[in-house]
Amino acid sequence: MSMKRFVIIGNGPAANHAAKALRENSSESRITIFSKDPFRSYRAHLLPDFIAGLIKEEDLYNSSYAHYNEMDINLRLGQRVVSVDFSKRNVILDHKEVVPFDGLIVATGGKPRLPEQFQLFQDIMLTLKTPLDARMWVEKLSNVDSVLIIGGDLTSLSLTKALLKLHKRVKFILNDDAFWPVPLNEEIYRAVTGRLEQRGVEIVHCRRIRRITQLEENLLEVETDREILETGVLGAFFGLVPDVGFLARTGLDIDRGILVDEFLKTRFANVYAAGDCAQVYHPALRDYWVSIGHENATALGRIAALNLAGSHFEVQVKPESILEVGGVKINTSWWTEF
């Protein structure tokens, strides 16, 4: 019997735990990880510490290259999958290489969400998802003293702490468009803004952003419905959305994420989705949910791999950690830790 070819798209916690579980349960298979990013798997929650100068960049990364060699896993970094042909069971890479697979796990994770009204300004807004983003923050912060944060996700709160450590002047715009992963009610608004103000952050109270103009390389003007602000750098923090756009029109069912059942199976045989990019219908919840957070990702990655290897494990959910955002239920282990 020929060696099975397993392909994993993505290189986050779900992908790496999937690869590990596959190797443990399928010693004769060929396992390949494709990552569009040119760097190894990293710990996203440490990015603010790196920006604050508390750790070195190398400390962000999880595993050495040797680790993948030892596990006999082909790690192909900087190689973007642009499509998947499920009828021929091939993944297609940006550089036109076509790679066949017998089993596939999509674990591409999330990418920064930018609401439609802000997409025009994406080139002048910074986000924080990867070490590359963090490097851009470090470079930018070396030239500016003031930072305006729009949004209000958990990453933005961690970054704010880092910025204060760097003695930057921080302004924060929180509104109901921009708090994530929970709906922003008055109680939360008061609690969060009070906490931020205690730490020295200036809260900008407004309902909407009307205009953003780059006046100079390190000077932006932001017009709200109440005032005009100036800032050196602008951060956009609206949470994450599943990074699955490249799979549109491939035949996979994609809503917010890739639709899978409670066993993480997609519509195609031997094709699974795991981690932040999966949208799971779970009978216990009677609804779909998208999972976020490291713990969830590792658990889902492992389950997808075990099921691909022939098991039949069901995803476990904890109703108390399910939050609804924009009509989609979010399972977050972060929030309970926050």
Partner: protein, 600 residues
Amino acid sequence: MMANGFAPEGPINSNTEHEGPNVLYSTDPADFRYMTVNVPCQSACPALTNIPAYIRALYESKFGLSYEINRIVNLFPGTLGRICSRPCELKCRHGESELGKPVNICHIKRAAADFRPPGHTYLSPRFAPSGKSVCIVGSGPAGLAAAHDLAILGFDVTIYEACHEPGGMLRYGIPDFRLPRDILSEEIQNVLRLGISLKLGVNVGVDISLETIMADFNAVLVASGCYESMKLGVPGENLAGVYPGLEYVMDVAAGYKESIGKKVVVTGAGFTAFDCSRLALRLGAEDVSICIRGFEEDLRVTHDEILEAKREGIKIRSLSLSKQILGSDKVEGIEFQRTRPIERTSGGRRRVQPIEGSEFVVEADTVIVAIGQAPRPVTGSPGEKNDRGVLLADRKTFQSSTPGLYVTGDYLTGPTTVIEAIASGRRAAERIAQDLTGRNFREWAVRIQDFRITDRDRSWDVLPRIEMPTVLPVKDRFLNEEVVEVESGYSSEQAQEESKRCYLCYLHYEIDVAKCIYCRYCIDNAPRDCIKLVKQVLLDETGAVKELVETTNWLDVNAVVIDNSRCIRCGECVRVCPVDCISVSKVELLERPLVQESKA
């Protein structure tokens, strides 16, 4: 000499600059097949608009010609340049994976309309009067298209329109923030000035019977569209605050409706649902959501429409199937069930399965049901009808069971798009003209002409798609004093820059096997797998290439072949060929007049 005693005349819609002796016209089925496969944008257009030609004309600053190449087949370029459903862009070769995004074909069309010089030359050939008359019921896109074509084919045309202004769904079913009325009126006037008689405010079947009209005309064409809104068929649909989508849009268009509730839920996945939701915002709604059974990929609207609706603050709730509308005497909410997507229908429509026990409620004070329309029966019409009393006809011949009575457009097919209705109206006109005179007036042919290598620069292949500029910030779209067209249009420079992105798939590259020395320089320089070593070329029943059987064994190679379905017309193969064995021709699918030969 062609069959039926007709001989071809010259081309009507090509750039005549390169017209010369090396031009031929083909009606060989294999050539039509070639066009279908290799010029995907044109074959995706229901009206078969010669897209590469009009994009090229615009690039050459011939805005009037670009407009006219459109107008002679789709009649309303300024209108379609704003509201077309753009099936061409879904097939554009530039949109294939690894090649980037499709060319913004539709907005280039609009630019041709926006920047055409006043008084540009019209290219429509007109035929001598036939002495016959045709009545058309309905002045929507299908009716106007049929009227236009029948008029230029020499028929006296009269249109009966139930509303007080012409345009049908174009005027009453599309909001003015997407389609300004002055643009529409001008293009309708372009049709009417061919001598068409328009009788407004006459509801056929109510004010005058179809049989009476049939007695006065040689043929009657029913093109009265789909105006009967479909119902959800769930409890609560008759509560106050529930509106049928199309009626809602029409009431707003006619000025009958000027307010709406604060929390609005729209059900439906097409343009009417989006129009309803965006209109609701403009009438003062604060929370508007569109609920769909499947997901965003299933929406039957353009990506731009989704983006702009979201920018305006409209939420899309996916995987939600309406179960009942809640409320005691007026709407208070709507109960949905979660759905699970299952296989699509053969027509590509999403099918879903409701999930038992997954019910949830969305609060609302207004529910708009925009899930589709159906034709409304014409009272007292003769001929075979369906169980709803809607007149039936053959979809190919447009003939009903009553001689002289024809049906076209959405009335015949059910709801389609504007461009499909236009194509249907034109084909019905051609058929009526043939039936009334016993002759063919026009034919489609493939015009083949020797051509030079492309002058496109390779760097143009990586130009980013220029998206349509829109009015921003969003609040500026909701000014009360005037209607603001949301899409503000390309500048002429932007349109020409975007036109550079078109590969010009009407260019055909071919290797002369007799001259080829199998050096494979062309393959080495090819930008993708567009040149192939083949051992066999398989043909289909028309004689067109069906498959290139490739080989990696050099001893089996019988030819080096350019696969025009993969070719991006970059010209690199021609440039590097040491023996000049690769030729370029321009192939265009055109409609041309057939001129009856003299009997003398």
